[in-house]
């Protein structure tokens, strides 16, 4: 299948591959059992976290910057890749992924994404070399099972008692579905990087 892609619709196919791992049917996919009865979508924030991990692990050559985001019912700063956000929009335009918008119990609106059949077709062009760096992120290097991306907060930490959240408010954690107590890694998605700088006070002229 050939895609007609305009210059402003270019996207990183590895992001499509990432979405495929955590949404619709594909070999060795996430939550295989649930797929029998319902379609599976990946939520926007976890997707942004996956893209961030792909950037810091050099699987994707994109930038990210801190941005205020809503997680559950409170605000945090997270490392969001604007190129990643743009790619997701481009892939929607091309019909490779679908977006589902829903309201949370905290009255915020979130988006979920899933790969389409057209997207699955497009993925066939991806070589093993392209897939390998993404696979290193999403598959457990011991049992080769797909890693779950858990958002662990003070609200649900009792449910996820295998992870010691300590005093942290919230953490994105990749855990091996088969053996999460022993095999997991924390994402630095919410850790805002510091830069050295020097500033001087500035006031708006004639503000009032």
């Amino acid at each position: 299948m050939d895609l007609e892609i305009a210059a402003d619709q270019e996207f990183e196919p590895k992001i499509l591959y990432l979405i495929s791992k955590y949404s619709n049917v594909i070999e060795n996919s996430y939550h295989e059992m649930e797929l029998d009865t319902a379609e599976l979508f990946i939520k926007e924030l976890p997707l942004m976290c996956l893209i961030y991990e792909a950037i810091v692990r050099k699987a994707i050559d994109y930038d990210y910057a801190p941005q205020s985001i809503l997680i559950t019912n409170f605000r945090m700063n997270a490392n969001i890749s604007q190129e990643g956000v743009d790619d997701v929009n481009d892939m929607r335009e091309l019909g490779l992924i679908e977006k589902l918008q829903l309201t949370t119990k905290h009255h915020t609106i979130i988006n979920g994404y899933k790969i389409t059949d057209k997207g699955l077709e497009a993925l066939k062009k991806l070589t093993d070399e392209d897939r390998a760096p993404v696979d290193q992120i999403v598959y457990c290097n011991e049992c080769r099972g797909l890693m779950e991306l858990k958002i662990i907060s003070q609200e649900n930490k009792k449910k996820e008692d295998w992870y010691d959240l300590g005093d942290e408010e919230i953490k994105f954690v990749f855990a091996c579905k088969e053996n999460k107590t022993h095999k997991f890694f924390e994402s630095s998605f919410l850790d805002i990087e510091d830069v050295s700088y020097c500033s001087k006070e500035f006031y708006l002229d004639n503000f009032y």
Partner: protein
Amino acid sequence: MTINPNENVEKKIIENETIIPIRLNDKDNIKDELDILVLLHKPKIIIGEYIPFGINQMVNLNNKLGSVQKIKGALLTSVIDEEPVESTFRTDEVCSSVYVEEFDLTNFVKFKAEVHFPEDEGIIQEEKFGVYVHEDGSIIYGCSLLSLNQLDVREHLTSLDHITRVLGDLVEDSSLLIQTILSNFQNNLLEIIYNHHETHRNKFLVLMAEDFRLPQNHAGEMKAANFQDGEDYENELNQVLKEFLKGLDLPEGGLFFLGTEGMILISKEHKKYQKILGTYMTIAGLDLFLSNFFQKIWVLFDSCGEIRDTMLSIVELNAKLISSIQTNLSNVYNEIILLNSILPYLKNSITSLDKRVQDLEALSHMKYFIDFLDMKKYFRILERRSGDIDNLMQALQHEVKGVQEIFNSLSERQMRKLTETTQESIRSLENIAKTSDRQSVTLDIIELILAGSVAFDLVQTIFMEPAGEAIGNAFFMGNYLAGNLAIFAMAGVIWIGIAYGLFKFLKLLEGRMTKFLRVNMKINGNCNIENLIGYLESKDIEVVETKEDVSTSLRNLEWEESGARWGSNTLNFKLIYDEKNKFLENVLVEVINPKKISRNKIIEVVMQELVDLDVVPKREMDELID
């Protein structure tokens, strides 16, 4: 020698401009290799937000900052003095230092702040920014970046990617700074609206620069529309704008970009735009605040719904559940009260902003820019949104009132159940007592039969079979049948004798058991307090208990009485009255092993005495007993 501290401060800042670029040495902890697309010349960061203020909070802030003091400037910390009576304190946490530059006690304050929050190892930050706080709630933080991993130190060129890191840092640090100087009331408001994550609250960002460079392109050829390419440049700008809305080519050759949560202005003549930008930032800051406010209202509606569902789903309330529902309800109440207190501040801010938007019309030479921002329309929408809050808050109050009524009705139902259960228990005890009485009668009959059995066995054992014949021969001319009948009659007499003896013995035991008579006369009426005190003085009072509060003065007295009018009985009296309200509650009389005395007699004698002494008016006996 005289020292001018202000001179030193200025000198240090001038030094910073030349020294810091070398000293910072490009230290950061960025994991990514950044693709530099946009470089800005002499960037300035301005951050705007809205926090409810008002005149009193403004005066309080000015006092806190020491605005009126001759020697200005102070170090600030968020540490709370937990021991106000101690003469000294220790702290290693000094967050910021402030220096008031200009103020009006009730209107505004303008101060520069230097923050000293801990950073990662190797990171050097000399963070100074100016803060402008106005009574209408608009707060503007601003700083010029003197040094930041500059690619060209001489030209003061800084990459947008690096600036976004500073933005992230400043947004949080400005929250921490302002929270140390806000009143507890304002901090509580922020805590509620931002769900205890107020430090990470979103603010409106503005980036200003005098010029820009594009390492991969010719900056001079780039128009605003070229940046809206849907790809690299737009993505780069979105790091500040969040969502690129529109761009404008400025007449003097600069560029302007507007986004959902930020703006970028590149112009050598940026000063002429600053008043307009300041007003827009205030509107945008209020917009962000209102969005969070609305979200909080929905969350409170949800909380009410959850409490109602919990109450309707449970079969019966228990003490733990009642306490948990009460706690949740009171939390919701507290939050609603605090949110309600914001409404007058919002109205004032809207009025003040309206005037500011109208004032901008005088800047006729800037009309193209004001029209581009569509500020009037933006403000009118905001005005309508804030008006809608009143209705929502009223609806929320009705909602919580409804939930409270359900809770009250459930509690009442629970109390009724409790009373019914108690009455049921009493009835059950009465039944047990009646059953016990019946069993006692049955036992008496069994006793009688047993006595008969014993009597017959006794006669039979003494006289045996031939005895009937012998008695018959001796007294009834050989008629042994008459002899046997005589023995039977004898056995009957013995039976009656034993039964009577047993009955008497049990009566004796029963008589030895303690009996108790208790009469509670509930007067619950006004009394003549002087006469009552006179009545009590005639008694030999043994116990006096007093409970005092603002409205009552309860006295609980106990004494014993005996004498001719009570026969051989000793009566224990307990009397409760309220001296302050001249109110007699009740008289309780207890008699142990009462002899020839009845409940009615006690009531009659006690009441007669109280009526004769004019303590209380005459009452019917039925009114006095439970």
